[in-house]
Point group: C2
Chain length 368, copies 2
Amino acid sequence: MSNKSLGIVKPEIFSYKENFPLESGKNLKGFDLIYETYGELSKSKDNAILICHALSGNHHAAGFAPDDDKKPGWWNELIGPGKAFDSNKFFIVSLNNLGGCHGSTGPSSIDPETGSKFGKDFPLVTVKDWINSQNILREFLQIDCWHSVAGGSLGGMQALQWSIDYPEKIKKAVVIAAAPKLSAQNIAFNEVARQAIVTDPNFEKGTHHPKRGLGLARMLGHITYLSEEVMKEKFDRDLKKDKIEYGYGIEFEVESYLRYQADNFSDKFDAHTYLLMTKALDYFDPSKYFEGDLISTLENTKSEFLVVSFSSDWRFSPKRSKEIVNSLIAAKKSVSYVNIDSYQGHDGFLFPDDRYVKTIKTFLSSNV
Amino acid sequence: MSNKSLGIVKPEIFSYKENFPLESGKNLKGFDLIYETYGELSKSKDNAILICHALSGNHHAAGFAPDDDKKPGWWNELIGPGKAFDSNKFFIVSLNNLGGCHGSTGPSSIDPETGSKFGKDFPLVTVKDWINSQNILREFLQIDCWHSVAGGSLGGMQALQWSIDYPEKIKKAVVIAAAPKLSAQNIAFNEVARQAIVTDPNFEKGTHHPKRGLGLARMLGHITYLSEEVMKEKFDRDLKKDKIEYGYGIEFEVESYLRYQADNFSDKFDAHTYLLMTKALDYFDPSKYFEGDLISTLENTKSEFLVVSFSSDWRFSPKRSKEIVNSLIAAKKSVSYVNIDSYQGHDGFLFPDDRYVKTIKTFLSSNV
């Protein structure tokens, strides 16, 4: 294996056969979780890092999949030998969440009770449910305690929830580009995405893939992942053709790019999973079990925290990260906070900015 | 007529019978423009103000329509006796733009050549075309020169275009919550709205009203009109029912509100007009005839300018207004600029904030 790349990584599947109660009150009769690991678990089993993915992510975070040697995992820039999450030092675990569509049990899986796909009958899964299922995976992997749990966006929310729900099982939490709960505006964008999907006639019929609705959802999501600056830099008002045609077709590069994103994504992703992930985001609010008070919510946590935000992120802005930081300080917890000067918007968490990488490395390597 | 209200206002229709060449190179064989007036034209005809509407606006800006005594015109808070645009002093003209769906010739009008609705065959109309058609209306009304041309958002862009295209025919330009041209992000949001409409199977068939697509476009537009703050104040994370149901239905108040907006709007508005208005926005760029240089674009203008922005507006932020202001200063023009401290986002231009109203009044009443 080269020093820079993890090469080809083969995923594994963990099958849980017991009943799994959900936050909603419903139950899942067992589940599969697909996951990958990078690096070696130390003899003392004290170097395991769990990586949690965001809305449309999956288990394939780094290296190359056996069937695709072109496109590396979604966080390949940050995970690998010598990288921010250093696979020479750490044993890194990355899974596809319950409800996903990349190999873990979800709406596109076969319901053993009916013999057909769960589809819309797959129960809604929340961030708390994910943490519980990830904890079962932890036990299966015989890891007594995570060295760290880390993620960006919805992944960062999972790291936060881990520190609250299993304070003894996580030493460090890396909460990147996240928020303590969604704002009305965040929910509003998610609702437009969901409405795009559920009003697609194919979805209503329940028989066909709602490609157009899912494509619209993706286009809209994509705009919120980018800053106005990076869109200006990438596209500005550049035309697709030589001159303006004054028609209703594609005129600007940015239109063409968005349609490509929509087309590409909607061929591969499951619409029910998209609905589920956006709902998990909307429902995320760990303070709801503590009368809405984030400080008391965090009182029983025991981990050290690293909170990272990106200056140009308007989906989960630095202000939202500071809400977490200030509550952690008020709850007398150990917290480091860094706001990375960036122009890439919410997507900033995917790129290996120097200061960002060094911050994570330093935080992960300090003693606990 | 009371001192506060314009009472019932009856619209009038101006029919232009000549050929009307468009910026695209196409032609319209005449057109109708529906308009309302408030106040009296002075003997010297020097007190006429033209009000230009935004994306989904129309001619009915103030007072009550004959068939609806519940909901006043869209800018009723600012137009009327003693108001910012004072109908006791000024003769105010407000029209529905060409391509609209409220009485002016547009996609929902009958094409005299075919005897059926224009629909998708209605030619694309630009801001320059609107200014030309408004200039024909000015001549019909025997107004030698507008005292002022004013508008918010796309309306503000028309005021700016007036000052450039007919410098002798406009003494004052009131450019509110506008931008010198759309950013890639602005175009991107418009493109999602258009895709929502054109991928609606009803639209594709060309026979039925694409209610779902138009509704989605409206939901999305609505989010961009509001600030994150005002959404928090109005809805925050308030639930529609007593408790969370962990389902895929409406859970939060903000979802319910958006669906209502979508439902209501999409019953009344024409989808082709929506497409046309968003394209007019995207194409707006007066500097394109001046090698992209806004300063030279403004060099031949003769009017005084008032530019107004709103602190919480993220659709056309204060930064975008300042681009106009700085270019006007560089072109040595007379310009006043006010940034109104607001929490209502882009919609701020619709509300009678005290400082905002006084700024407009002062600007309109100063000698020219």
